[in-house]
């Protein structure tokens, strides 16, 4: 996957770019040219360490697996939480599932992007897959897809602000949209991917991605029109 290059002299910063301290920006007295050299060296060293770690983890070395998971943990947790909701009771279980999925997917990691981004994508897809599986299973058993945890969450965390409803609506779409649309939509909103990045990540032409995002938006509008509860979120009403 091609990703925007890190820009040290301003410009677009990738949303998942390295934290400032890794870029060396804490050292404000260093001249800009020297800063670029230092930061490049830091980045290079970090990438090399990560690559080595990935190789060791891939070969099944348990210490390397643990170290890699520790490195990837915060990003994976952020992804799981953004997909499920901060208060969702399954966050910890899904975090575990996502970490296992990341390690199992390591043989397919070709080093064309940072391991953190790879892990976040795997985590996102794993959570979506599990949510859809749960939903399908409920429907196959003739149960209502009504989620008691969702009801409980509404009542026990009564921040029923417009924001919490918006989050709820977005997350509902992640699980109800057709897979390709859901994938594109979630990559955009959970991981802040652009059209081109989604195209790279899913090996799909950019125009197809645009079309999927447009269809997802249509589904969103349709969902809003289905109930008075959601209609309050419409910008027309605000």
């Amino acid at each position: 996957m091609t990703e925007p290059e890190l820009s040290f002299g301003g410009g677009v910063r990738h949303p998942h770019a390295l934290p400032l301290q890794v870029l060396g920006q804490q050292n404000a007295l260093v001249p800009p040219t020297q800063l670029v050299a230092t930061t490049s060296a830091n980045v290079l060293s970090e990438v090399m360490t990560s690559e080595l770690l990935v190789q060791r983890a891939r070969s099944g070395e348990s210490q390397a697996i643990r170290q890699l998971l520790t490195q990837l943990g915060p990003g994976v947790l952020r992804t799981v939480r953004r997909t499920l909701g901060a208060q969702h009771p399954d966050v910890e279980d899904m975090m575990q599932e996502a970490l296992v999925a990341v390690i199992k997917a390591l043989p397919s990691f070709r080093g064309q992007c940072r391991i953190e981004h790879f892990a976040q994508r795997i985590a996102l897809f794993r959570v979506l897959e599990e949510r859809k599986r749960q939903r399908a299973s409920k429907r196959a058993h003739g149960e209502s897809a009504m989620d008691p945890d969702q009801i409980a969450s509404r009542v026990m965390h009564p921040g029923d602000t417009l924001d919490s409803r918006r989050q709820e609506l977005l997350r509902e779409l992640f699980t109800t949209l057709p897979p390709a649309q859901s994938e594109a939509f979630a990559l955009r909103h959970v991981l802040d991917y652009s059209v081109e990045m989604i195209a790279d990540a899913t090996a799909t032409p950019a125009n197809t991605v645009r079309s999927r995002l447009r269809l997802a938006k249509q589904a969103l509008i349709a969902r809003i029109g289905q109930s008075a509860y959601w209609r309050e979120l419409s910008p027309e009403d605000s």
Binding site: R78, V100, P148, I151, A152, L220, I224
Partner: protein, 313 residues
């Protein structure tokens, strides 16, 4: 961005990735003002960003998840991931040899058994006697095989104990719990609606369905007009349908929810239809499914509703 390159999805990309539009980008600005869909999508994205990303206790949560994940991987055999092909080949190479050894051993065992039986019968001893001699060792083998080397019998439960557990009659309700709300009252005391709801939810998650039902009922009885009581109708209905096999009770809850109104009306309508199906009231169930179809034609339940309406006579 030049107007010739403008596409609504690029506009969303810009805003999502934190790049503000310049004043010269008149067309995107205009589009954003007029297009409700794009504005809605951006509102939703902003709401997602408003949620805190880091919470207290995250460090412990990550550690626990890593611990469990590494355990899961070690049990599932992570070492096979990279080497799956190699292992498979190796396995294939050895399998005929292993098969050969297995067949030879079985043949030798059968021959030995034949010799023993022949020897015993030729000595005039009754075959039953031979069986009696052999029987204890055959019986004893599985027990020895499952016994833990350290003598810890808990790690390998006997067949009898498993059967006993499976055949155990359902637990009798405790005396205090037999009355409606008895146990719940004892547990819950004078709790607020939010506390009762939280308690019932915790019980439900712990798999204690019947106790959860009691606490939900207590909540509805003691605080009938609270929002928690309203929301509890759907949770309770679902528990009654799925865990206590009481579609009649569930139907009453769904109907009460629909009467008072709420954001999950669609789900309550579907629940009502399912409960009527379960109760064997097909005409009413069909009516409920029709209502789902009429009110929510584009919903995720529409297909199911259509099938029900069309398939039933």
């Amino acid at each position: 961005m030049r107007s010739v390159d403008f596409h609504p999805e690029h506009l969303i990309d810009h805003v999502v990735r934190g790049v503000s539009l310049s004043k010269s980008d008149a067309e995107p600005q205009l589009h954003l003002q007029e297009c409700h869909a794009c504005r809605l999508e951006l509102d939703l994205h902003a709401a997602l960003n408003a949620e805190p990303e880091v919470l207290t206790g995250d460090g412990e949560l990550i550690e626990r998840a890593i611990e469990r994940a590494t355990l899961q991987l070690s049990q599932g055999g992570v070492h096979r991931i990279g080497d799956a092909k190699h292992l498979r080949t190796k396995h294939r190479r050895f399998s005929p040899i292993m098969l050969g050894i297995g067949v030879s051993l079985m043949a030798a065992a059968a021959a030995a058994l034949g010799l023993v039986l022949q020897f015993v019968s030729s000595d005039g001893v009754e075959t039953a006697g031979a069986d009696a001699k052999l029987a204890p060792s055959i019986e004893a083998r599985p027990r020895e095989a499952v016994r833990d080397p350290n003598g810890d019998s808990e790690t390998a439960p006997s067949v009898e104990s498993v059967v006993q557990v499976r055949n155990r009659p359902p637990e009798k309700p405790e005396p205090s719990a037999t009355k409606e709300g008895g146990r719940g009252t004892q547990l819950s005391g004078n709790l607020s609606p939010a506390e009762l709801f939280a308690q019932a939810t915790a019980l439900r998650r712990a798999g204690e369905a019947s106790r959860a039902v009691r606490v939900f009922r207590q909540l509805q009885r003691q605080h009938p007009s609270s929002p928690e009581a309203g929301a509890s109708r759907l949770s309770l209905a679902r528990l009654l349908m799925e865990h206590t096999n009481d579609p009649g009770g569930a139907l009453l809850q769904f109907e009460a929810y629909l009467k008072s109104g709420g954001p999950l009306e669609q789900e309550a309508l579907v629940g009502q239809a399912l409960a009527l199906d379960r109760l064997g009231r097909p005409a009413e169930a069909r009516g409920a499914w029709r209502q789902v179809l009429r009110r929510y034609p584009g919903s995720t339940y529409a297909k199911q509703a259509r099938l029900k309406v069309e398939s039933d006579p």
